[in-house]
């Protein structure tokens, strides 16, 4: 009896320790990451980690450098965010532990990046020195440095970098007027296919959601450059070359963006450069269906995930509003006034809500996309880009 009691006495502390440890494991919040996202606070050099289910801010991660024009891609497990900063910084953030995992400054001036189809590689588009650098996604180790050389040993700034099926990357050379297709099938022997004379000053590009068509917008002339990735041997075609030739172009106070889900059904919606118009292009014939008059020069033209609506924000001095285009009748159905300096919009994974960053009001506004009711306001310091983890599973974003 005494013996037994003794053994119980001994095991009590052990039992308590075990319970304590178990309790700790259970108390630590287990959560998925499919409803997480990142908001860029450009001037502060920080990002907010947010969640869209209860619309709340979870954490702030700081010391990420110059985040003007920063953009983000996600690891395929949706746990890590890769932030591309203007100052060439590439930062890997753990969204579940709210911390910076690793950061490399890989260039003097960059514009954005992409993650490969298999999630193994991160590609960064650089202005200075002009070119693309490829890193492993786990440790951010440099795998390849591909200078955007053209003409007499000149370096071009790189824009419109996207990932494409078949572990490829596609991008445009702003200064050279070229499109390069990078094949990473064998990472130790990267193949580059170059397309020249694609048009003057490509400024950005989009990849259709199926990963087939790469469409680059041109700043230096009318029309767009089109590459069919199912048939790269056919070369780059020019579409809509006559468009806007006779129109008086307005000065452009902010370059439009093309990346985003601006494709719905057979229609692509793209911003017209220097005009208060959104262009609707029929992707079967690659011809202009309509130019929709809007409230200013469009910056982002984004389709709601179900393709029923297109949301548009605008360049200075019309950047206090957002317009919604009804895809069925191709006209503006709604104008919202979120506040001064609307910089970006991001839809929840299936599009029932949209988050809008309003820079000068230091706020993020959340709207219901069906009723257009404002659902929430969240504080953020000069917020710009908003990126949700649902992008991880989308090609070309």
């Amino acid at each position: 009896m005494i013996e037994i009691n003794k053994s119980i006495d001994k095991s009590v502390p052990l039992l308590l320790l075990l319970l304590y440890l178990l309790g700790n494991v259970c108390l630590a919040e287990l959560r998925g990451s499919g409803d997480l996202g990142v908001v860029i606070e450009r001037e502060r050099g920080s990002v907010l980690i947010i969640e869209t289910s209860k619309r709340s801010i979870l954490a702030r991660v700081e010391k990420l450098g110059d985040l003007s024009h920063a953009s983000v891609v996600f690891s395929r497990d949706q746990r890590y965010a890769y932030v591309f900063g203007r100052d060439g910084g590439l930062s890997k953030i753990d969204l579940l532990q709210d911390k910076l995992v690793r950061r490399v400054v890989q260039a003097g001036n960059s514009i954005g990046g992409a993650i490969s189809q298999d999630g193994r590689f991160i590609a960064v588009a650089n202005y200075q020195p002009g070119g693309v650098k490829i890193f492993t996604s786990d440790t951010l180790e440099l795998v390849a440095d591909i200078p955007a050389v053209y003409g007499d040993d000149k370096r071009s700034r790189v824009v419109g970098l996207v990932d494409a099926p078949g572990r490829q990357f596609v991008y445009s050379l702003f200064d050279a007027g070229e499109i390069w297709l990078l094949d990473m099938r064998d990472p130790s022997r990267i193949e580059i296919q170059k397309f020249s004379d694609i048009g003057r000053q490509p400024y950005d590009a989009l990849l259709t959601p199926d990963g087939r068509y790469y469409l680059a917008g041109l700043f230096g002339e009318s029309g767009l450059a089109l590459l069919d990735l199912w048939h790269p041997e056919e070369g780059v075609k020019r579409i809509l070359p006559e468009y806007g030739k006779d129109d008086e172009k307005l000065p452009v106070y902010k370059m439009p963006h093309m990346e985003g889900w601006s494709v719905t059904g057979n229609l692509a919606f793209v911003p017209a450069v220097g005009l208060h118009q959104v262009l609707v292009i029929d992707m079967l014939q690659w011809r202009l269906v309509k130019s929709i008059p809007v409230a200013g020069q469009p910056v982002f033209v984004m389709a709601r995930p179900d393709g029923r609506q297109i949301w548009v924000n605008f360049a200075f001095p019309d950047n206090q509003q957002v317009q919604v285009i009804d895809v069925e009748d191709l006209s503006v159905s709604r104008t919202l006034q979120p506040g001064k300096g609307v910089l970006h919009m991001e839809f929840t994974p299936r599009g029932e809500e949209v988050w809008i960053s309003v820079r000068d009001d230091n706020q993020i506004l959340v709207y219901d996309t069906r009723s257009f009711q404002e659902m929430a306001r969240l504080p953020a310091v000069s917020p710009s880009g908003i990126f949700f983890t649902s992008r991880a599973a989308k090609t070309g974003l």
Partner: protein
Amino acid sequence: MWRCLLLLCFATSAAAGKPDPQRQRELRSLLKNDCGACHGLTRKGGLGPPLLPEALAGKSDAELLRTIQEGRPGTAMPPWKPFVDADETLWLIEELLRKQPVSMEHGG
């Protein structure tokens, strides 16, 4: 010639036409956000060239004034004349030449 004379007139009237504090705030915000859209928040350049004091050294006020007011045809630089007058532009040039971007001063 006329243009030079005009510019001279603008240049000499600059001291008299200093924007009031409220307008100065607006202009600083414009410089940071809207010039910054192409030239970078820290003015180290982007699609547009850097606007740091050392990058602008050697360019005359008249040249800078014309570039900002009229834009540079054939490039992405638009004319800012609809939003800032000549006096305000000269004040902005002074800001550009005088100091590093404001944005990084209250960073972090």
